[in-house]
């Protein structure tokens, strides 16, 4: 198990290094960064001044090394637009996004796994059909529309929850439901399919023949085997939620990192975009790494791979 973790950790570090090179390379994707910063009407002298101020006149490899070294120390440079350190710009945005992402995935798992299990235990029953209905609706309904519906009902009509902002935990209830509901269908269907397959397995019959009760059969013997693909899916969705919750953040006016990324792209604020891409990628890498470890713990056959 330890050597498995060490190997996965090494792999994760390699992927992270590659990703950092790619996100650094973005800077040069849009042509000369100095003239981009200087703007349309700048003369050659201004551009040259900017070039030497930001260090674009140095060799690329030196720039990359310098950037990476700073990034490792939490320094992502100055935002072109805000003229503030990117790290401080991102820090509080990220805490909003993290809160939302974690709440969203927890909500999705908390709904999807019991529902998937219940649906698999009695296929084609009322519960199964209800679960299917909920997942089809969740898949088909755009997040922004579902978010607006919730705002109309719970904030405007009933006045139970605040419609926007980040002042207290109540602000996160509706965004969590919207984001979680978006991730729920896939997790639910995968849990159901996995459970259906596993419940037909011989070792489930063995467990019953040993005299194990139904709950023990379902949750100790079956779910542990059925949930393995769900772990990988949830890790990817978790990464996606952190980077891709732009829509939900906009609807509920939560100023999170996703929203910031979207704004920064529009403003050509490359250091901010670079930093966000790097951070989102690191999240993906960390989550898939954790998912691999969790899966290896769940299924001993994976520990050799």
């Amino acid at each position: 198990m330890l050597s498995f973790i060490a190997r996965r950790l090494g792999l994760a570090a390699l992927v992270a290094l590659t990703v950092s090179a790619l996100s650094f390379g973005l800077l040069f994707l849009s042509g000369d960064p100095a003239s981009a910063i200087a703007g349309e009407g700048a003369n050659d002298a201004d551009i040259a001044a900017i070039r030497s101020f930001y260090g674009f006149d140095r060799p690329v490899i030196v720039q990359y090394g310098d950037w990476l070294w700073s990034a490792l120390h939490g320094d992502f440079g100055q935002s072109y637009y805000f003229q503030l350190p990117v790290s401080s710009l991102i820090a509080d945005r990220l805490s909003v996004t993290m809160t939302l992402g974690v709440c969203g995935i927890v909500f999705a798992l908390a709904v999807a796994i019991p529902l998937g299990v219940a649906a698999a235990v009695r296929p084609n029953s009322i519960v199964d059909r209800l679960a299917l209905f909920l997942s089809v609706v969740g898949q088909a309904m755009p997040s922004f529309w579902f978010g607006l519906l919730l705002i109309v009902l719970f904030a405007v009509k009933l006045g139970w929850l605040p419609p926007s902002g980040t002042q207290s935990w109540t602000n996160f209830v509706m965004p969590t439901v919207v984001l979680g509901y978006y991730a729920m269908p896939a997790i639910m269907r995968l849990t159901r399919a996995g459970m259906l397959e596993v419940l037909g397995a011989d070792y489930i019959r063995t467990a019953r023949a040993k005299g194990a009760g139904e709950w023990r059969v379902l949750f100790k013997h079956a779910l542990r085997n059925a949930v393995i693909p769900v772990v990988s899916l949830a890790a990817v969705q978790m990464g996606f939620m952190l980077g891709g919750s732009i829509v939900v953040e906009s609807v509920f006016a939560l100023h999170g990192a996703g929203f910031l990324a979207w704004e920064s792209i529009g403003r050509n604020d490359l250091p901010t975009v670079q930093a966000l891409i790097l951070i989102f990628s690191m999240f993906y890498i960390v989550f898939t790494f954790l998912a691999d470890i969790l899966n290896a713990w769940l299924d001993p056959r994976m520990r050799t791979g």
């Binding site: 011989d202 070792y203 019953r208 040993k210 013997h221």
Partner: protein
Amino acid sequence: MQASQDDRANEPLLAVRNLTIDIPVGGGTLHAVRGIDFELKRGETLCIVGESGSGKSLTSLAVMKLLGKSIRPHADAMTFEGTDLANAGPKAMRRLRGDRIAMIFQEPMTALNPAYTVGDQLIEAMRLHRPVSKAEARARALDLLGKVGITAAESRFSQYPHQLSGGLRQRIVIAMALMCEPDLVIADEPTTALDVTIQAQILRLLVDLQRELGMAMILITHDLGVVARVADRVAVMYAGELVETGSAAEIFNAPLHPYTRGLLRCIPVPDKTRRGADLGSIPGIVPSLIGEVRGCAFRDRCDMAVAACVEPIPERNDGPAHSYLCVHDQAALADGPAAPDDREVPA
């Protein structure tokens, strides 16, 4: 104490009366098991023999009440040690399973949970029924692993099923079934999935343990060689019915039902069967059991079939424990197939 044990020895451990199993299928009902009776005394080995699809495994799962939700079993009576299995609720069945009645399955490769160590699964089998500590259950498990012929039991204990061979896994499945010293072990083709060399070992082990622990055993198999070596009593199953039941000696030395005889002809006998001679086979195929089945299900394949075979078949007895289902009596069966012109003319 002695007297009460004798009393208990006289009444059957397991008695099944008129067990039927119906399975709903597209366009009808599959009558997989059609009214079978059998009983089993303490310490006795009953072999249920028959080809695939004859209902052997379903019968054993019905005794454990482990048939799926869509399958409907019915029995006039099904009692185990005085417990009425037919009307026992899920809780009562759960207490019996693994404790008083244990089961060994055909496929050792898939019968163990891949996510837990061998030791965890052995310990669980005991702690589901006995208020013992993990250490006590572990000691019992290690003892049993030794008994089922596993060397280095300590290191096997912490291994996962995928790290073990099929033969080892089947030994573990056997040890798991014995954790609570059951009164009855149901072994459903326990050696079919194993290499031939391992088959004999596992079978010997099973029989030795059964004798040592005084358990009763239902051994389900299609291998008559196995039956000849271990059975006290034999029940021959064909198309959902027990066509002949008797002691092992009666079945092997004086088989009556044409199907039983056909099965026995399929076994080559060293020195008696000529090299290159045709091995016996039973022509034809098993009839469909979907919809109403009338008369003898074997009649289309039987060389002694007569017109009366389409009518309900009487159960006949030859001695107290030897019974069979056939229109012919013992004398007619002993004469073998009649010459064509002697046959009754079908109506």
